[in-house]
Symmetry: C2
Subunit: 431 residues, 2 copies
Amino acid sequence: MEIGIYFKFLLTFGLILLAARIGGELFERYLKQPPVLGELVAGIIISPFALGGLINDPIILHFATIQGAFGLHEFNVMEVISEIAVVTLLFVAGIETDVGAFLKQGITGALVAVGGVIFPFIFGYFITMWLAPETGIAGWLFVGATLTATSIGVTIRILMEMGKLQTQAGTIILVGAVIDDIIGIVILSIVVGIGTAVKAGSELNMVHVGLDALKILAIGLAVWFALLIIGVKLNRYISRFILNPFKRSGTIPIFALIIGFIIAYLVTLVGLHPVVGAYVAGLMFAATDEREDILDKTRPIMLFLAPFFFCYLGMQVDMRLLWGGAIIAVILTIAAVLGKITGCYIPARFAGKMNHTESMIVGIGMVPRGEVGLIIAGAGLLAGAIGRDLFGAAVAVSVITTLITPAMLKPFFKIPAKSAKSTGKPLQQEE
Amino acid sequence: MEIGIYFKFLLTFGLILLAARIGGELFERYLKQPPVLGELVAGIIISPFALGGLINDPIILHFATIQGAFGLHEFNVMEVISEIAVVTLLFVAGIETDVGAFLKQGITGALVAVGGVIFPFIFGYFITMWLAPETGIAGWLFVGATLTATSIGVTIRILMEMGKLQTQAGTIILVGAVIDDIIGIVILSIVVGIGTAVKAGSELNMVHVGLDALKILAIGLAVWFALLIIGVKLNRYISRFILNPFKRSGTIPIFALIIGFIIAYLVTLVGLHPVVGAYVAGLMFAATDEREDILDKTRPIMLFLAPFFFCYLGMQVDMRLLWGGAIIAVILTIAAVLGKITGCYIPARFAGKMNHTESMIVGIGMVPRGEVGLIIAGAGLLAGAIGRDLFGAAVAVSVITTLITPAMLKPFFKIPAKSAKSTGKPLQQEE
């Protein structure tokens, strides 16, 4: 029975979760690191580019997003499951968010996002211009854009595990990462526009590119604000018309999560990443009376699925590519870390009036590039704007920034922050 | 960005869950039927053969197992997710099972399974011989085999929703359905063997076919018993060596579920269906001290995913095929229902010494063919043993038996059964 091939996906699913769990456990127990880091490293180890490559089977552990997503010869089942996992994670993060604090930190969060984009972009652009001048302006722009990304997932997990999601710093990181995603798609559309024009040798119509970028920015911000306002101002109506019909059957939490999935998709229609939609959907329900019930029933689902996302993320890393541009990779990584910390620290410290420790937490929390960096770099490789060496370097930036964030964050959480209020229970024991 | 195609799967996933939830809610509230029936009907309505066919999109709602599984031109993402869903369902069912009762009912359960195979098989064989004599022995055998299947999922959900999983009848249905699966693969291997030989016009080596069947039977039973004995006799060691290492991080439930997925795959290596492995894995943990903790954290995951499986199952139904052999479909369905009830009632009543009501519950509980019937019929269509009319009839049998079971079961649960002990809380509110 050929249907047996489907059963093999069960094994793949189980093996990834198993590797993630063992990796998470070992890192937590013996290295005193957050489990999420162990999950990432477990993914790198079992990836088809490492240990997984030894198993000569078309399904078991053989898939890599970058090829799968851009080749599209066949759909990648595990990719879809990892999307489901990260949407669930961000939905739960949204519900755990203190909506009032979220709105109060809006300005600071926006400034943190802008600062966290400008500095790494300039650093990335000029370093590439200096070290790889032959790539040309399209390549410099792409590397700069890769460095602006922020993957909210890793930091969210760490904040959750430490019970710091509802601190002021945690909230600003969330606001910043969401706005960063909106700025990110604007930048990507600009660099793709310029890159294509430069490659084709055609005249560059900056007015056109600028107008397109403004349009995307306006739509992204409008959709995001609309959802936020609906959630905050109309939560009584959400309870009455969306949630209450499912009260009697006790399926409110599940229905809320389903709505989260649909909103996660809908925001992609205006170019936003599904995690932004999932997060805002969570926020929508965070102000309702049903919050605790929703949280109680969706958290076990998130705790089951989230490690899959992180392990799968690790599996995308081709260690061999990292050596290609080793020197430029190291320099770009340093620039990415310093650029992000500087760009986020300054607004947090001076506009947000946070103390040094908290501002550092915000800055470091925005450092991981994760899968967002991988996606932008993949788009650049595909557009021909960057070669495999710069692509390898961009991958290295994504991986290393993601891997070092937990260790960099930890010491700052040990310093008791005055204005930080931690209302969330630490999830570490529950996970 | 072509990666957007992956986002569309989020929509598909969300829409299926949404349809399932609304269908389940409407059936429960207005028709006083179990939600699982509403999920099935919602699936039939949104299937690509009905409403879903109006949406001209390669991904949204466009997939059907029978084509997907046997064509294998591209992997079907939703098929994998539905496998994950049903594995989770059976794992939780295993944990909820009273292991002592399960063992006590072993003999009765086995007799119920055997009776539930023999009667429908004979009925199906001779009815097809009478109504479709031109099909030949291979076709008669295949239709007979289709009628022997039992889909444990539907009955499990109903029993769970009514809090009757831990009654004597519930336990016997579980035992019977598990053993039925083992007998089912033996029969399938026999009919495929005979069918292929007859089609090819080659001489039929019954000794060979018989030996192969015996081998499959022996392996299936041995693996199943081994897992059961490990769970029942060695539960102290399971706690100490498998679960306890994850106690400190609070991830025992998640680790147990991961083990469930891996065992679900492993049993497919000896030809068993993954749900059998998932169920026995659940049983393994049902005797441990960590049972309550595991149940508490895995049940929300099951409640989220299980409706997906049932809605997806409904989506496989091509209503147009049902009209092809309408008369034979009706007769076969009646035979399938009466055959199963008779074949299971007799052993339950006389070997199991159950009263009439309980014996009827056992008989009706074994009626739904669900996806197992669809799989066998699909194999017959592919082998050329049956034409599209008989395939349509077999599909009708699977669908109708699955749809009518909840309504048939309900009245018998209203009669207070003397020896029935219901320790499980009704899950209806929680779901």
